[in-house]
Amino acid sequence: MLSYILRRIWQMLPTLLGVILLIFFLFKLFGGDPVEIMAGLKASPERLASLRAQLGLDKSVPEQLWVFVQQVFTFNWGKSWTTNESISDIFATRLPATLTIMVPILLLEVVLAIGAGLAVAYVRGSLTDRAIMILTTVALSISFLVYIIVGQYLFGFVLGWFPVQGWSNSLWKNLVTYAPLPVFLAVLVSLAPQTRLYRSFFLDEIGQDYVRTARAKGVSENAILFKHVLRNAMIPILTNVATGLPGVFIGSFLIEVFFSIPGLGREILVAVNRSDYPVIQAATVYLAALTMVINLITDVLYKFVDPRVTLK
């Protein structure tokens, strides 16, 4: 097991190196001149030169790449180009807000979609099943934007059940007052695709021989579904949750924009609009690293969920 994990970490290095190279050269070759972005058009030549030296842009490209690599591993990205806030501070202060809405979303989504998927798989082939499948197809074709726009208008503005937007400093107030509407809407939107997906996972298992055997032995339908089918469908479910996990750290940036939640996703979007490159670069590199780590953890978890899996 340990040797497996070590080997996987070793294999991650080339990919991480590739991500660093990709991001560095993408911004170096195709990005704008940082000095022009920072100083504006009216800056004096002296100021431009001093900025250039300050950012290390007067050095050669390999040297700059080396500095970039150092930044990645020391977490020292300097300051934001536009707000002068240190990049690590930006991450530390924006992440809690993102997690406050994304963790409930992820938990509710998984629990509800598994329930709905099992229910639909149980009545497979019936009229209800087909009606739900058609409904989800139509629900999927409407843009995410429409759900948030209408939901915010209806529940926040017209009915006034929730505040339209806002955020406070207390976690409890956020969870109770400001988070429910965004969480509700996000879960509502993701329920259609997730139910379809989980239904297909369960349908794959429901046709298996062991289900027929269990049924022949007189095991109750509930026990078959929850003990046999659910356990065997854990691997695709786990994979699906793991794919969604890195997204938790970016937050659904659309939700954050709509509900004025000071999270990481909105911060990255603002950085894109202001050409604040270091924020985008840091976010991209670290989230790519995080994705790789999550994939590794998922692969190890397979072993616990399904003892038949051998890690090679």
Partner: protein, 352 residues
């Protein structure tokens, strides 16, 4: 001689013909095909300027309601401006401009002023500037569908070529492409989109590309090729050692010819299904990018920019632009998604 005999034998239908026969029996598939074709014709007509050419013209009063709803009396349109009527004092003896009034009146009479009658209601209503929502939604369909289709075509092209090379040759170049694939998939989708958007928006390419739709197409195709690459690569690995490919090698077909004239037609159903899956995904992505201001420029209209405008309109109770854009988009996307399902079933009967 022998060719005559072969030709006179009953021919077995080709793969595509068989697929078409199967598709024709699928009612849902055929309906969605007609709906999709209708939209494609609409897009072509808009491209040629046959419909919705003057979508920017202000044909209705601001926020003209849909015909079904009827005219909305909000008091502002028909408000009577009350002026204080007092004795009309003749001040022409002190007014220094008085002698010229007559000349100005004559001059202004030479110009014809036409009063354009603006419609109070339009079939699908009007937006804040009085532009017809129906024309806008057709123009928006043109932009959104074109972006979705073009980006999907490019993504498929990149994915297919790289997948073919990686799967067919394997070895060093295959490993290299796998590394590139791993790097691209390690970065969360949306962050890659943001990074590319940041670079294309402010970098040296911004001036050559303009703020046109090309930026969106480039971003989406650079991000979207990975899934297609993976599938095509797997197919090529499966096919490269099949007998027909060896036979092609034996008769002296070059690598390129084996890859693209022999193997490609045999896996083209995989590519086609992937292509149409990506069209739907990219149209949805374009809508969101345009809403965020990273998509099509302000002077163009797409379903995304319509939804962005609709957000502020909704608070004022003007729901028709939102409803129309959603209706059109949902119809097209549903039809296209169902068509994709039908295509997959028709092209690969074993899947059932």
């Amino acid at each position: 001689m022998s060719t005559d005999i072969v030709q006179s034998l009953p021919q077995s239908p080709g793969v595509w013909k068989q697929a078409w026969i199967r598709l024709k029996t699928d009612k849902v598939g055929m309906v969605s095909l007609y709906v999709t074709l209708f939209f494609i014709v609409l897009v072509l007509a808009a491209q040629l300027g046959l419909v919705a050419r003057d979508w920017q013209k202000e044909v209705g009063v601001p926020f003209a309601a849909p015909t079904l709803v009827g005219k909305i009396a909000d008091g502002t349109q028909n408000a009577i401006v009350e002026t204080v009527v007092g004795p009309n004092v003749d001040i022409s003896d002190v007014d220094p401009l008085a002698p010229r009034y007559k000349e100005w009146e004559e001059r202004s009479a030479q110009f014809k002023t036409t009063v354009t009658v603006k419609a109070d209601t339009l079939p699908f209503g009007a937006d804040q500037q009085g532009r017809d929502v129906f024309s806008k939604v057709i123009k928006g369909a043109q932009v959104s569908i074109t972006v979705g289709l073009t980006a999907a075509l490019f993504a498929t092209l990149i994915g297919t070529i790289l997948g073919a090379i990686g799967g067919y040759f394997g070895g060093r170049i295959g490993d290299f492409l796998e590394w590139v694939y791993n790097v691209f998939t390690a970065i969360p989708y949306i962050l890659l989109v943001f990074a590319l958007a940041a670079v294309l928006k402010s970098g040296p390419l911004a001036s050559t590309l303009g703020s046109g739709v090309w930026t969106v197409v480039i971003i989406l195709s650079l991000v979207g090729w990975t899934g297609i690459y993976r599938l095509v690569r797997a197919e090529y690995m499966k096919h490269r050692s099949r007998e027909y490919v060896m036979a092609a090698e034996a008769i002296g077909a070059s690598n390129a010819s084996r890859m693209f004239t022999h193997i490609l037609p045999n896996i083209s159903h995989v590519v086609l299904v992937q292509l149409s899956l990506h069209v739907v995904g990219f149209i949805k992505a374009e809508v969101i990018l345009s809403y965020l201001g990273l998509g099509v420029p302000i002077d163009m209209v797409s379903w995304g920019t319509m939804l962005a405008e609709a957000q502020t309109e909704l608070v004022q109770g003007k729901w028709w632009q939102l409803a129309t854009a959603t209706l059109f988009m949902a119809t097209f996307v549903t039809a296209f998604a169902l068509l994709t399902d039908a295509l997959r079933d028709a092209l690969d009967p074993k899947l059932r």
